[in-house]
Structure formats: structure tokens, C-alpha cells
């Protein structure tokens, strides 16, 4: 059963070939059997998912209408609320926090009859590029257990890669869906800013955050986007875009004819050899599919990391001010005064990376430094947006690598700047609010997955997904990790 896509499994359920209960039991068993090697789940919603499955079986038996994701096991990143369940954000601060309301995405999944099977591991408050910064345990890569799964949605990418769930959500502030997707050989999509509601997502960098799907194939990404890509009045940045068909008619004939794909060759000069070689091979495949490759200038992106670590930390320092030990989360047991509660609860609750980022964010916003850092970064962000606007006058899509190298070994990167460089090619989509997808493009010499990134202009989510589908189909890459290609 693990070899099916979400759509195939849904269709089998709808045809009555398999019950929702047996699907759910099967995937729960798979998690119980395999996840001790991976650490991709922080909790498994056994009771909730089996209850939902039984309801679905009754609905089907009674001939009632079933949703677009009927019977499909979906995992939710543990910074997104499912009412009544834990939302830990991978942090000790929220280790016992139970959501008192549903996120919009959880609502939409449940309305379309998906089975929410568990909550996935992440870097604490989604701050990290390797999942080593989870306060609980790191996530291991299903292709090579010594390696990281990427971050911050590394629990979701590992779970989907090992087929412990057939789809998952991630949140992407600087590459947190796409980089782990590429490290684990699955597809990950960051929609246009505002395309998916952030209501019920614990905020990190609000002008950059976007929820998106991870799945085993691009068709499932489209299917999930049809479910979660809806306007939401509870998120003031939610876009009012009419319901779109993401895959649909004529998809099998999708190619790149008459499509100009821009590549910022000059910006990519300093890449790791293996990944650059793989990227050039992917560009050749795009040409085979009919694309015209044009050179574009995105040199401004060399400043992406500096802009990002000013803006994202500034926003994070503000967003994380709410964790004060008063209303929810941990409260220091030794605190005797109100001030002690703030200081000591935050000391106990936050891990080093989170503390560091809150401090950096506070520093760049503080009097005397705001102009040099925060305001400057907002201006350079405008230049990034303009550079993409100019680029899209000459091309329909932009192609870039996802990350500078394939998955690295756990513990291999200690230097903070080197770790931040993991996001060199992904941050730009967040800075400019663009839709961007990571789709598997092959394996490195040492059998680690590599991904290709396609970016489109704002609101062109459908075009990005359909072209990624064409690339994926043409490549026909088997993305099942050998270690987990078994019952």
C-alpha cells in the first residue's frame, strides 16, 4: 500500500477496494515499525485518525459524498494547530500546549476527509535548516540515516519520503519546505505569499511565512493545493483568488514548449560541483522538454542571507514576545516575581538557536541600529522584488538549484553562517513572495537526492506545479528510499 500516491490510494478507497480503517491501521503500523530510525513524528494521532477512518467507512457505505482527500493519511507539521492536540513547535516552551482551535489548513483537510495521522518534528519554532535544532530529537534522512533530513520541515519530508504518510504540511520562511523536500527526494511546494491561510500556524517571520504541501509526487501537490489553497477571512494577508484546478485536463501533454526558463548563471558560479553538475543536467532536460533557456541577472540575491537574517529575526523577536510564561507554555517553577516569570520561563523554555535569533532580531530593531540593519534590509528587499519583476519580463519561470549541496551528516555543520548558506537559493522566493517548487532531479554519487527548484511570478502557482509535473514525468525518477522500500 505504501507505493501508492495519495490520489491512487484515495481512488482505491472510493472504489471500495480498501477501507479507510485498514489504510489508517496500515500507516500507523508503518510509523510504529520505522519511525524509531527516523524521528519524524512528535506524536501519532492514533485515536483521532482511527475515529475519522471509521466515520469515512460509514459515509462510503451509505453512499454519502466524500472529499478530495478521502482516506489519505496526512501529517501536519507541529507548528500548526489541530484542535485538542499538542502543538509543541519542537520547543520545550510548548511541550504540553494543546491547541484550543483548529488551523484553517487542518479544517480544510478534515472537510475534504483526509486522515490527520500525526504531528511532525521540526527545528524549534521552525528556526533551522537541518532539524538538528528540535528540542526533542533530530530527524534522520531516510536515504542515509547518518544524514540530516533538512529543515525546518524535516519531520514532514522524512515521513513522506519513507511513506509513513502520503502527504504533509510544512511551513516555509526561507526554504523550510523546499530544502528538506530535496534532501529527502520528495516534492515540496511553497505557494505565493498569501495563497494558503496562516491562521493557526505559530508565527515565525510573518512577512515571509507560508504553509505548503510535501508529497511523493507533483500530482499530489496539486491535489493538496486544491484543498488548502483557499481564501481565508481569518488571515488578513490571504489572497482572494478563485478556486483553481492545479493538475486537471491536458496535464499529460504538459511540456515546456514556448516557455522561457530564466537561469541566473552568474549568481550560481560558486556552487558545489556535484550539485551544479546535476543542475546543468536538469536544465538539459528542460531543453529536451521544449524550454528556451535564457540568462537572467539576479546578482542581488547574493545579499539574500543578510536581508533574511535581519528581517526574519526582527519579525521573530516580535512574534516570540508572546511566550511569557503567563497564559500558556512553561512557567519557571522557581520564579517568585512577575519579572522572574518572564526571564526564567524564557530561559528554560527556549533553546540556544531561538534565543540567538530573538537577540539578533532585537538588536537589529534597537534604537541606533534600526537604520543600518532593519530599514536597510527592507530597501534591499525591494531591490530583490524588482530584480525578479525584471527577470519575469524576459522569462516565464526561473530555474535554480534548491540547496548548495545534498544532505550533510548530522553534526557536520557547526558554523552558523555556513548553516544559513543552506538557504542561499530558497530565501529569495520568500523575500519576493513567489511560488516555488522543489522537485527531485536525481541522486548524487553517494546516493543522496538532489532537487530542482522552479519559481514563477506571484499567483502563478498553477503554472509552477504543472511544469514541475512535466519535468518529473519526463525524468521518471524512482524516489522511494531503498531502506524503506519494504512492508
Amino acid at each position: 500500500m505504501y507505493k501508492f500516491s495519495a490520489k491512487e490510494l484515495r481512488d482505491k478507497f472510493l472504489r471500495g477496494e480498501v477501507s479507510a480503517e485498514s489504510i489508517t491501521e496500515y500507516f500507523i503500523k508503518r510509523i510504529e515499525k520505522f519511525d524509531s530510525q527516523l524521528g519524524s513524528f512528535l506524536c501519532v494521532l492514533k485515536e483521532r485518525s482511527l475515529k475519522k477512518a471509521k466515520e469515512l467507512d460509514i459515509k462510503r457505505k451509505n453512499g454519502q459524498k466524500l472529499g478530495k482527500l478521502a482516506g489519505v493519511p496526512i501529517a501536519i507539521k507541529d507548528n500548526t494547530h489541530i484542535k485538542g492536540e499538542l502543538t509543541t513547535c519542537g520547543s520545550m516552551f510548548l511541550k504540553n500546549y494543546r491547541a484550543v482551535f483548529n488551523s484553517t489548513v487542518s479544517n480544510l483537510f478534515e472537510e475534504e476527509d483526509a486522515i490527520l495521522i500525526g504531528k511532525t518534528n521540526l527545528d524549534e519554532f521552525a528556526m533551522g535548516s537541518s532539524n538538528e535544532k528540535s528540542a526533542f530529537f533530530p530527524v534522520h534522512n531516510p536515504w542515509n540515516l547518518k544524514c540530516v533530513s533538512g529543515g525546518s520541515s524535516g519531520g514532514s519530508s522524512a515521513a513522506v519520503s519513507a511513506r509513513l504518510a502520503l502527504g504533509a504540511t510544512g511551513s516555509d520562511t526561507g526554504g523550510s519546505i523546499r530544502q528538506p523536500a530535496s534532501f529527502c527526494g520528495v516534492v515540496g511546494f511553497k505557494p505565493t505569499y498569501g495563497r494558503v491561510s496562516r491562521y493557526g500556524l505559530v508565527a515565525f517571520g510573518s512577512s515571509l511565512d507560508q504553509i505548503g504541501p510535501l508529497a511523493t509526487c507533483t500530482e499530489d501537490i496539486g491535489l493538496i493545493m486544491e484543498v488548502i489553497g483557499k481564501h481565508c477571512p481569518k488571515d488578513s494577508t490571504s489572497l482572494k483568488i478563485p478556486q483553481e484546478e492545479f493538475i486537471g485536463k491536458g496535464i499529460d501533454k504538459q511540456r515546456f514548449d514556448d516557455v522561457k526558463v530564466g537561469v541566473p548563471w552568474h549568481f550560481l558560479e560558486d556552487m558545489d560541483d556535484a550539485n551544479f553538475k546535476s543542475f546543468k543536467e536538469s536544465i538539459s532536460r528542460l531543453k529536451d522538454l521544449g524550454a528556451e533557456i535564457v540568462d537572467i541577472n539576479l546578482d542581488i540575491l547574493k545579499h539574500s542571507i543578510a536581508i533574511y537574517y535581519i528581517l526574519a529575526t526582527a519579525e521573530a523577536s516580535t512574534n516570540l514576545a508572546r511566550f511569557d510564561g503567563i497564559r500558556y507554555g512553561v512557567r519557571s517553577e522557581v520564579a517568585k516575581t512577575l519579572n522572574d516569570i518572564y526571564d526564567l520561563s524564557r530561559e528554560d523554555g527556549f533553546g540556544p538557536e531561538v534565543k540567538k535569533r530573538i537577540m539578533l532580531g532585537t538588536y537589529v530593531l534597537s534604537s541606533g541600529y534600526e537604520h543600518a540593519y532593519y530599514k536597510k534590509a527592507q530597501k534591499v528587499r525591494t531591490l530583490v522584488i524588482r530584480a525578479f519583476e525584471e527577470a519575469f519580463e524576459n522569462c516565464n519561470l526561473v530555474a535554480m538549484p534548491v540547496s548548495p549541496s545534498p544532505a550533510f551528516e548530522i553534526g557536520a555543520i557547526q558554523d552558523p553562517i555556513q548553516m544559513y548558506f543552506q538557504d542561499l537559493f530558497t530565501i529569495c522566493a520568500n523575500l519576493a513572495g513567489l511560488p516555488a517548487i522543489s522537485v527531485p532531479s536525481g541522486l548524487s554519487k553517494d546516493k543522496k537526492p538532489i532537487g530542482l527548484q522552479l519559481l514563477g511570478p506571484q499567483t502563478q502557482d498553477v503554472s509552477v506545479i504543472r511544469h514541475a509535473y512535466a519535468f518529473e514525468k519526463f525524468l521518471n525518477f524512482n524516489n522511494l528510499p531503498p531502506l524503506f522500500d519494504k512492508e
Binding site: 494577508t237 503567563i326 497564559r327 512577575l338 526571564d343 526564567l344 524564557r346 540567538k356 534590509a377 513572495g433
Partner: protein, 100 residues
């Protein structure tokens, strides 16, 4: 090079309401110095007459307003369900104006 030092870090801890252990402080100071030196590269970018990015959505950005109506929000018991300490339907904290 930035003039970020131990004193700046101590000021920041106060502003952020975070206390760190001495050991954590050493590591955070080293890292933050490196990061701040790195982000200073932005100074070389010419941003004269470039406006700040107000919204990444540009012209698609809209101010969203709604009617001010009473709706069903969180019940008191739901709201208090995650509170670390409570008494009589309220959150309990140590004395603010009068400490021991």
C-alpha cells in the same frame, strides 16, 4: 567589524527578557559577532531613492477590515486550559505591586 561585545549582549538579554547561562553566553556572543559582521555587507548596496518594502504583495495588498461584531471566540475554560496557574477562572501570577 561591529562593536558587539559582552556588554551589548547583556543589554540585549534585558531587552529580550531572556537570561542565559554563562556557557550559553560565550557561544551566543561568538555566533552573534560572526553574524553581525556578515550582515553588515548590506552597507555596500546602493539603496538611494529605493523605497522600503511595505508589503511583498505590492498592488495585491489590501487593507482588510470587518464589521465589529460579537462572535463566538474562545470560552473561558478553553482559554485557561493551557494556563500554567489559575484561580477562580483567572490566571494567577505573583504580586506585581507588592513583592515579599
Amino acid at each position: 567589524m561591529s562593536n558587539f561585545d559582552k556588554k551589548t549582549l547583556e543589554d540585549l538579554e534585558r531587552l529580550c527578557r531572556i537570561k542565559c547561562t554563562e556557557e550559553e553566553n560565550v557561544a551566543i556572543l561568538t555566533d552573534l559577532k560572526k553574524i553581525i559582521d556578515y550582515i553588515e555587507e548590506l552597507a555596500e548596496v546602493d539603496t538611494e531613492n529605493v523605497p522600503s518594502c511595505r508589503s511583498v504583495l505590492g498592488s495585491m495588498h489590501q487593507n482588510v477590515t470587518r464589521e465589529d461584531v460579537v462572535g463566538k471566540t474562545l470560552s473561558t475554560s478553553d482559554f485557561l486550559s493551557n494556563a500554567p496557574d489559575q484561580i477562580g477562572g483567572m490566571i494567577r501570577i505573583p504580586p506585581v505591586l507588592k513583592s515579599e
